[in-house]
C-alpha cells in the first residue's frame, strides 16, 4: 500500500480531506459542537494546505494522478493537473471561508450535524469532479454532488423547502440520467472515457459518422446543461434559493453550477476537442445558447425585489460567460471564460454572504427594505457594492478582466457579435445592480434598523463579516494583480498556453 503515501496520491488526499470529516461528523452527536467545528476547520485547513502543495508542484511541472480500478477497464481516476487545480483551489478557498460563515450563520439552529456532514460531502463531490481524470469519474462525482446537496437545499424542512428540493432533484436527476447514458454511449463509440487535452475524438472518425456524434454531443450537453443553468433548464436555480445562505453561496459560487460549467468545458475540450467540436458544428450552438442565457438571465434579474432571487438570476447570466468563452475557437476567449469560473465565484459568494448577513442580522430580504441600510451595515454594503461593480465589469475588480479577455477573444475568433452580447449584458448588470446600491446608500432609512440585540461594535457576527471581506478582497486582488503568474488570470493563461485545456 506504499503508493498511497506517494505524491501521486495527493489528489486522493485532497478528496479525503473533506470526505473523512463529513463521515465522522455524521457519527458524532448533535451536541458535540466543539468536535464538529474542530473537524470542519481541520479538514478545510488540510485541504487548503494540500492544494497549495499541489499548486507548487504543478507549476514546477509535476504530475499527480491516482487511480483505482472499479471495474475491469474502468477506473476511478483523480488527476491534479493545471485545469483541475483552477477549480480545486477555488473550492478549497471558498469551502474554508464558507465553513466559518456557516458556523456563525447556523449557530443554535437544529440539525447542524446533518448540515455539516453533507456540507463536507458536497465539497468532496466538487473536488472529486474537478480532478476527475475521465468521464466515468466525472459522472460519478457529478451525480454524487446532486444527492449530497439535496439535504442542504431542504435543510429547513419547511413545505417550501421540500418543494424546492423536489424541483431541484427532478431537474438534476433527469439530466444526470442523460449524462450517464451519454457517457456509456461515448465509451461504446470511442472505446475510451479518458479526458485528454485537445480531446480524444479522432477528427476523421468524427467526420465519418458526424450525425451520431452530434446526437451524442446533444445528449451529453443535456446532461451537463441543467447544472450549468442554461436556458431553458435553469428553472431550479432561483427556486433553490430557499436554502440557508451559506448553501446558496456555495451552490452559486462553487459547487453545483460550476460543476455544470466545468462539465461543458470538459465536454468541449477534453472529450470532443474544441476544433472537432467546431468541425462538427456543435460548438456554435453552445456559444449561442450561452449568449442567449447571458441576456435572458440579466433581463429576468431586472425588477426582482427579492435580493436572493435577483442574485440567482444574475448567476444564471454570469455562469454562461464561462460556457461562452470556452466554446469560442480563440485561446484568449477561453482564458476569459475559464478565469470567470474563479472570478464569478469570488464575487458571487461575496454577494450571497452579504445577502445572508442582511437577512440574518436585520431580517432584510427585499431590496425595498434596504433603504439606507449602508449606514447601519457599512462594511457589508461596501463588500456588496465592490462585488456588484465587479459583476458589471468595472475595473479594477476581477469581473472586468473576464469580460475584457472574452471580448478580445471574440474578435480574435471572428465572432464580434459576442462583444455586443457582453455590452448588453454589462448594461443590464448595471441596470439591476446599481439601483440596489443606490437604495442602500442614498435613500433615507424608513426607520431604525434594529436587530433587537442591542449589539455594539461590529455590525454583524464576525464569523459572517470576515468571510465576506476576505472574498471581496480576493476578488479585488484577482483584478488588480491579474498580471501576476499566481493570480487566477495568470494561472488560466498558464493552462491555455500550455495546451492543457
Amino acid at each position: 500500500m506504499s503508493y498511497i503515501l506517494a505524491w501521486e496520491a495527493l489528489p486522493l488526499a485532497i478528496v479525503l480531506s473533506s470526505f473523512v470529516p463529513g463521515i465522522a461528523i455524521m457519527f458524532l452527536g448533535e451536541e458535540d459542537r466543539r468536535l464538529r467545528v474542530g473537524l470542519n476547520i481541520a479538514g478545510a485547513t488540510a485541504k487548503l494546505a494540500l492544494v497549495a502543495v499541489m499548486l507548487v508542484g504543478v507549476a514546477a511541472g509535476r504530475e499527480y494522478a491516482w487511480r483505482l480500478e472499479v471495474l475491469p477497464g474502468l477506473e476511478l481516476s483523480l488527476v491534479g493537473d493545471a485545469l483541475a487545480l483552477l477549480f480545486v483551489a477555488l473550492s478549497a478557498v471558498l469551502w474554508f471561508v464558507t465553513t466559518i460563515y456557516a458556523i456563525g450563520y447556523l449557530e443554535g439552529s437544529p440539525n447542524r450535524r446533518r448540515f455539516f456532514a453533507f456540507f463536507s460531502l458536497c465539497v468532496t463531490a466538487t473536488t472529486g469532479l474537478a480532478m476527475a481524470g475521465d468521464l466515468f469519474t466525472f459522472v460519478l462525482f457529478y451525480e454524487a454532488l446532486t444527492w449530497t446537496t439535496y439535504p442542504l437545499v431542504v435543510h429547513r424542512g419547511t413545505p417550501e423547502a421540500i418543494r424546492a428540493g423536489r424541483t431541484y432533484l427532478v431537474y438534476t436527476f433527469a439530466s444526470g440520467a442523460l449524462l450517464v447514458l451519454g457517457a456509456v454511449w461515448f465509451q461504446v463509440e470511442t472505446g475510451t472515457v479518458a479526458f485528454a487535452p485537445g480531446g480524444v475524438l479522432d477528427p476523421e472518425v468524427a467526420a465519418d459518422s458526424a450525425g451520431r456524434f452530434v446526437l451524442l454531443f446533444g445528449v451529453l450537453l443535456a446532461g451537463v446543461s441543467v447544472k450549468a443553468a442554461f436556458f431553458p433548464v435553469h428553472g431550479w436555480l432561483p427556486i433553490a434559493m430557499v436554502a440557508p445562505a451559506p448553501v446558496s453561496a456555495l451552490l452559486h459560487a462553487v459547487a453545483v453550477v460550476k460543476a455544470g460549467a466545468f462539465g461543458v468545458t470538459r465536454l468541449l475540450h477534453s472529450l470532443y476537442g474544441i476544433e472537432v467540436a467546431w468541425q462538427l458544428g456543435v460548438a456554435l450552438p453552445v456559444a449561442l445558447l450561452a449568449a442567449f442565457t447571458i441576456v435572458y438571465g440579466s433581463v429576468r434579474a431586472l425588477g426582482q425585489d427579492d435580493l436572493k432571487r435577483l442574485l440567482a438570476y444574475s448567476t444564471v447570466s454570469q455562469l454562461s460567460y464561462i460556457a461562452l468563452g470556452v466554446a469560442l475557437l480563440a485561446p484568449v476567449a477561453q482564458v476569459g471564460g475559464l478565469v470567470h469560473l474563479v472570478h464569478q465565484g469570488l464575487m458571487k459568494i461575496t454577494l450571497f454572504f452579504c445577502a445572508g448577513m442582511l437577512a440574518e442580522t436585520l431580517g432584510v430580504k427585499k431590496i425595498s427594505e434596504m433603504r439606507g441600510i449602508a449606514q447601519r451595515m457599512p462594511l457589508t454594503m461596501l463588500a456588496f457594492s465592490v462585488a456588484a461593480l465587479g459583476m458589471i465589469g468595472i475595473p479594477p475588480v476581477a469581473g472586468f478582466l473576464s469580460k475584457w479577455y472574452l471580448g478580445m477573444g471574440a474578435i480574435q475568433a471572428g465572432a464580434p457579435w459576442v462583444v455586443g452580447v457582453l455590452l448588453a449584458s454589462s448594461l443590464l448588470n448595471a441596470a439591476y445592480f446599481l439601483p440596489v446600491i443606490r437604495t442602500a446608500y442614498l435613500d433615507d432609512p424608513e426607520g431604525t434598523f434594529d436587530d433587537g440585540t442591542g449589539r455594539r461594535g461590529l455590525e454583524a457576527d464576525w464569523r459572517l463579516l470576515v468571510p465576506a471581506i476576505v472574498t471581496v478582497l480576493l476578488a479585488l486582488g484577482s483584478g488588480v494583480l491579474g498580471g501576476f503568474g499566481w493570480s487566477p488570470l495568470g494561472w488560466t493563461e498558464f493552462i491555455v498556453d500550455r495546451g492543457a485545456l
Binding site: M26, F27, L68, E69, V70, L71, P72, L74, L76, P110, N111, R113, R114, F136, V139, L140, F141, E143, A144, T146, W147, Y150, P151, V154, R156, G157, T158, P159, I162, G165, R166, L169, F173, A174, G176, A177, L178, V180, L181, V184, W185, Q187, V188
Partner: protein, 497 residues
Amino acid sequence: MIRDPAHWSVLAVMAPLVGALVALRGRPVALRAGLLLGALGSGGAAWSLARAVRAEGPLVYPLAGWGAPLGIELLVDGFSVVMLAVTALVGTGASYYATAYFGDLSEASVRESPAGRGARYFAPLWLLLWASLNGIFVSGDLFNLYVLLEILGLSAAAVVTLAVTSKATVAGMRYLLVSLAGSLLFLLGVALLYIAGGTLAIGTLAEAGLEGPLPLVALALMTVGLAAKTALFPLHGWLPPAHAAAPAPGSAVLSALVVKGSFFILVRLWVDLHGGGTREALLLLGFLGAGALLWGSLLALRQRSLKRLIAYSTVAQLGYLFILFPLLYPVAGGWSADAWAGGVVHALAHALAKAAMFLAAGSMTYAVARDDIRAISGIAHRLPMTFFAFGLGGLSLAGIPPSGGFVAKWLLLRAAIEQGAWGWAILMTAGGLLTLAYVLMVLRHALDRSETPPSFRPAPRRLEWAAMALALLAVALGVRATELIELLAIGSGGRLP
C-alpha cells in the same frame, strides 16, 4: 484439516442447519449461538470457496464420492461464490438486526413478550432458510435443487407468518401456495428432463445437448414455476403483501435473498443448461422484466405503507434481472460479458441495498409503531443514521453513484448500447428515474418537519447500525468490483465443467 476446498461447500449448508438445531433450544444464548454459527460458517465457506475458485476454477464435489450420473454432485463456480458471499453478508446483517428487533432476547422476553414467538422462532426458521439458500447456490443437480427450493419456500412462508397480524398469516398462506405451485411445475420439469436426458446433473445434461420438444416443454414448465417464485410480472401479486407483512429482518432476507434463489436456478437453466438457446423465450423473459420494472415502479409510487412500497420496488428491480436474459445473448452463440457482469452485480447490489432499506424501514416503523409513509414525517431528524442508510440504499437501487447499482447500470447500459438495443437502454434509464421517484417520495416525507411529530420511541442502536452497514456495503460495491467481476467470469456462460 480440510484438504479439498470443495468440502467448504458442505459446510455452507451444514453450518446454518446445525445453527438452526441449536437455536431451536429457544434460550437466548442458544438463539445467539445458532445465528453466530450460521454467520461464521457461511462467511467462512464463501471466503474459502472464493479463494479456491479463483485459484482452480469451478469445483465439482461428488457427495460421498459418488459422481454423476447416479450420485449427487455439488457445483461451485464464480456465480455460486458471489451469491454465497452476498447471502453471508446480508444474512449476518439481518441476524444481528434480529437480536435487537424482537426485544432484548432475555430469558423473560423470549418466553413472555407478545413478540416472543417471533424471537423464539425467527432464528431457527431463518437459519433453515439460510441453509437451503446456500444449498441452492452450490447444487449442480436438478432434483437436489427441487428439494432445496421446497425447503426455501416452506421456511420463507413460515417466516412471513411470524408477524402477529391476520394480514401476515393470510399473506404467508398465499405465498406458500404460490411457492408450492411453482415447485410442482419445477418438479414436473425435472421429471421430464430426466426422462429426456437420463441424468440430473446440469453439467452432464448441458454437454449431452437437449434435442426434441420434450426438454423445451420441461424448461418452459420449470421457468414458469421459477418465475412465479421470483415474482416475475405478472405473477408478482403474492410478493408485496408477504414481504410487507413479515417481521422486518424477515422482509429483508425475503426481498434481498429468497427471490434470488429461484432467479439463480433460472440462470442455471437458461445460461448453463440451455446455453442461450431459444432466443424468443429469452426475449419474452426480457419483456416480462420490462413490464415488472414499469408496473412495479408505478405501484410503488402509489403505496401508503412504507414496507409495501419497498416490496413493490422489489417487484420492479427484479425486472432488471429478467431484462438481463435477452442482453446476455446478443446473437445466437454470442455472449455479452458486460451484460452478465452487470446483471449479477445488480442482483448483489439489490440484495445489499434492499436489505438495508427494509431494515431501515423496520427501524422507522418500530420508532413510530405504524407502517405508513405519512407517519414517518420528520423521522430524518429523529433517526438520522437510519434515514441515511435508507437513502444510500435507495440511491444504489436507482443506480446513483457511488454504488453497486451504478456500476451495474453502467455495465448493463454498455451491453445494450453495444448491441444497438436502444430500447433496453432507454427502458433501464427510465427505470432508474422511476426508482428515484419513489425513493425520494420517502426521503421527502422523512425530512418534512411541517407536520406534528407522531409518537416516537427510540430504535435500538443495533437496528440502526445493521442497516447502515449493509447500505455502506452497497456503496462499497461501486468503488471496487473488479475482483468480483473476474470471479463471475469463472464458469458462467455455458462453460461449466
